[in-house]
């Protein structure tokens, strides 16, 4: 290493260079490596995508580079920013000069990262004054300029707003403005768009790209969404169980992945063209239970004896091609054959199937402090036997309300919700108990919808108990059957929800919903809290259940790609109105409503054909 230890010669072409970074968590005598032997490099003007599922060490790597880890963490290896070397236990003064000036960071939840009781203008001005050493008056001018640069509407007005008065996307813009205040050479973006709606997400992604072009800063973009990576990144480093397993240019990784895990991730992504996602079996090993050999070996189809015992040489995320695998894959990702299409058009002579659930000009009001708020209005749609209907929309579009109307959780204020010709009974009435046997819900968060103090088995059996179905032995047998059909091993019956993974929890919830042999399953963002590889397997399970048990599904989601891969029909919602309704493939190929086209265009897609902005890198 050249130069003095602390202050390095300014190297503006490489704002970040990490070599051999190992970060461990230490409590008492217990020590566990979370990130192991990570090396990566970001050049000026480059956007490096750091990809991997939860628990792979992406965020810890970024936090280590900014010295943001707490005292319980230990760091080995080297992190060099443009001018400074970050060591283990860096001094406060050293960090103060680094943060904001050499590197800045933006987070997933921008509204939580801003001070809720201070006006945007004041927060920005303070940061600018501190980082640039200018007077408050000047800082105010710069703050305004920054807000303009992040394309904030009405920047003068916004200076006087509090964070809660802004939308999620606007808050993220403010966060980016704060991050830019010290003209950093490097920006860490930790899932900056994950909590945003797709249309807002695409705006923020565009903003990050244009700021990169303008300032030539390097960006480390942490995400789990390969579609987003394809949109914004120039190069990619894939992390698994604390190590970088593959790196390379975004085109090479997307088109010809060489590590089986990368391939698995890409295959897990649903696409707008209807690729049926295939998940990866198993789950990421906990940091203290990583195997001695390749951490991916237990989930890898191609694993051989060598993989279990030896660690493949680490890949380096320096933009060059490298892969940490003994038996890397060769050749392009051959996605030539179109997978079976989820929509089978009905032939004319087939009898028209029965309508199960239908909403007829339905509206729903919520009581708020300022009076009634109309969540949805004039909704007319129906679910026929065997249909898989996707209800798509952004947050606040009223898509969940449709689920609630169908389940009898909310009453219709106008119009009617009916099930097999009869009105949907309200939750809490005696009619609802019988109705519950036909229509069931799979909610978003599986951990929240299972009783933490009851075993999985008893909860799966519970619906049978409630409805007095079968004897104790019969219920036991049915429980086994249900666990199996949801892809769970029978031993899990004795476990408690916190003892099993998120994917297994969601399977248990599905098993419980299926106990009463319902005709309709309403899934409200049922996979939104899961990793992509797990999400893909849940989608697979739902498709199988549809086939085997003749289940009709209402799939409420914000992800058009999932709708495409699972559903036969799509209803597009926007601010409480149904804007488009029809069969999936015709609508995705030729959307009629401009809003549908906008949604489709905003959706990041691993198969998108427009090339990412490679030409801007030197």
């Amino acid at each position: 290493m050249e130069g003095p230890a602390e202050e390095l010669k300014a190297d503006h072409s490489t704002p970040l260079e990490i070599s051999g970074l190992t970060v461990s968590l230490k409590t008492g005598a217990w020590k566990c490596a979370i990130v192991e032997d990570v090396s990566l490099r970001v050049r000026s003007g480059e956007i490096l995508g750091l990809v991997g599922e939860s628990g792979s060490g992406k965020t810890v790597t970024c936090l280590a580079a900014l010295g943001l880890l707490g005292p319980a963490w230990q760091m080995e290896g080297e992190i060099r920013l443009a001018r400074t070397r970050i060591t283990d236990a860096p001094s406060a003064g050293q960090l103060a000069s680094v943060r904001g000036r050499e590197a800045a960071m933006i987070f997933q939840d921008a509204s939580a990262s801003l001070n809720p009781i201070e006006k945007i203008g004041k927060q920005l001005t303070k940061t600018v004054a501190r980082l640039r050493g200018v007077s408050t008056g000047e800082a105010r001018e710069i703050a305004l300029d920054l807000l303009r640069r992040v394309e904030m509407p009405d920047p003068e007005e916004r200076l006087h707003s509090y964070p809660f008065q802004l939308s999620g996307g606007q808050n993220q813009r403010v966060m980016i403005a704060v991050a830019l205040a010290g003209r950093p050479e490097l920006l860490f973006a930790d899932e900056p768009t994950t909590a945003l709606d797709v249309t807002v997400q695409s705006q923020i992604l565009d903003l990050i790209k244009s700021l990169r072009d303008e300032t030539k800063m390097g960006v480390v973009f942490v995400t789990h969404d390969l579609g987003v990576v394809k949109e914004v990144c120039d190069s990619v480093a894939v992390m698994y169980a604390g190590r970088i397993v593959e790196s390379g240019s975004v085109e090479r990784i997307m088109n010809a992945p060489r590590h089986p895990y990368t391939l698995g991730l890409i295959e897990s992504m649903p696409t707008l063209s209807g690729h049926v996602p295939e998940g990866i079996e198993g789950q990421v090993p906990a940091p203290d239970k990583r195997p001695p050999g390749c951490a991916f070996a237990p989930r890898c189809e191609k694993a051989q004896e060598k993989c279990w015992s030896q660690l493949p040489l680490g890949a380096e995320g320096d933009g060059g091609d490298s892969v940490a695998c003994f038996f890397p894959l060769e050749g392009d990702l051959g996605r030539t054959e179109r997978p079976e299409h989820p929509t089978q058009s009905r032939s004319a002579d087939e009898p028209v199937p029965d309508t199960l659930l239908s909403l007829n000009d339905a509206a729903c009001d919520y009581d708020t402090r300022s009076g009634k708020f109309r969540a949805v209005s004039g909704i007319t749609l129906s679910l026929n036997e065997g249909d898989r209907l996707a209800v798509i929309g952004e947050s606040g579009s009223g898509k969940s309300t449709i689920g609630k109307l169908m389940l009898g959780i909310e009453p219709t204020s106008e119009g009617a919700a009916s099930f097999m010709g009869k009105p949907v009974p309200m939750l809490g009435t005696s009619d609802h108990v019988a109705f519950a046997r036909s229509v069931q819900l799979v909610p978003q968060n599986p951990f929240l919808s299972l009783d933490p103090r009851a075993t999985i088995g008893s909860q799966i059996e519970e619906p049978l108990e409630i409805h007095g179905i079968g004897t104790k032995q019969e219920r036991r047998a049915r429980r086994r059957e249900l666990l199996e059909s949801a892809g769970l091993s029978p031993e899990l019956a004795m476990r408690y929800p916190h003892e099993i993974s998120g994917g297994q929890c969601q399977r248990a919830v599905i098993a419980r919903a299926l106990a009463l042999r319902p005709k309709v399953l309403i899934c409200d963002e049922a996979t939104a809290s899961l990793d992509v590889s797990v999400q893909a397997r849940i989608i697979e399970l739902l498709r199988e259940l549809h086939r085997m048990h003749d289940l009709s599904i209402v799939f409420i989601t914000h992800d058009l790609r999932l709708a495409r891969s699972l559903c036969s029909h799509v209803a597009v919602m926007r601010s409480g109105q149904l804007v488009e309704l029809g069969e999936t493939s015709p609508m995705f190929e030729a959307p009629e409503h401009p809003y549908t086209s906008q949604l489709l265009a905003s959706m990041p897609d691993v198969e998108s054909t427009d090339s990412p902005t490679m030409e801007t890198t030197q």
Binding site: Q283, L407, L448, D451, I466, H467
Partner: protein, 301 residues
Amino acid sequence: MAYADPSEAFERRSSTQVAIAHVIASPVIVKMAMLWLIMILFIAVTARWIMPYDYQQTALLSRLLPPGATGASGDFHLLGTDHLGRDLLSRLFSSIQLTMLVAVFGTFFGAVVGSCIGFVAARFRGWVDDVIMVLVDFQASMPFVIIALSVIAVMGTGNMLLFILLVGFQGWERYARISRGMTLSAVNHGYAAAIRLLGAGTFRVYLRHILPNILAALVVQVSINFPETVILETSMSFLGVGIQPPNTSLGNLLSYGRDYLLNAWWIAGVPGCAIFFTTLSMSIVGDWLRDVLDPTTSSGT
């Protein structure tokens, strides 16, 4: 697939084993407090059999004997005697029994009633909830002793059952608040809503699912309330509106001793210490319980 399932290394321990492990790992002061409480509980249960003399038997020749003295009839008094020559140890045992009886049943009653009121508020919402919450606020802003005294003033002294219920009622508003708040959060999003959608009735949702989940918080509240109940009982008895002679509680003992503080300190000192150490132990164990039962500080497995 040796590493595929992170729960393989997981070993199942029964809840008894977990509890024992927690007790063994507890700090010394907690162990001492638990030991004291076990002793008090033992005395409360066996008082009738282990007391050396009849606690009502007077011996005017052996009045105000100090601890360790031998009376006129040759009786040994470990803790001395009171102003009527009654054996203080026997009276102490009898008092502990009655105080504990009032505190245990009273606390239990208060916890059940308070939690149920909270459940009712959360279940019906609307005006029921409003009325209950106003009562809760009303209760919280008024010393319970005043209410207890007015009830006794109207109903008269000497009714033991009434007294137990009255003392136990103390703190009901805190149970109500806890159970209402936690029930609301469970009902609105989460497992309770999911179970209701399966067709479950109110009782199943509340008793089989919500109660076990909020039990830990209620148990901690019991451990905070219990010493307060003991103190309320003793204060009422001290004032002469609680337990009536010939029955005796720690508060009665204390009030007899008041007149002899200067020349026979033990009459007030012994029950005073008993009250002090019991409530202190209860608070220490309660604090420790709160830490152990808190899901954010223990992993649960």
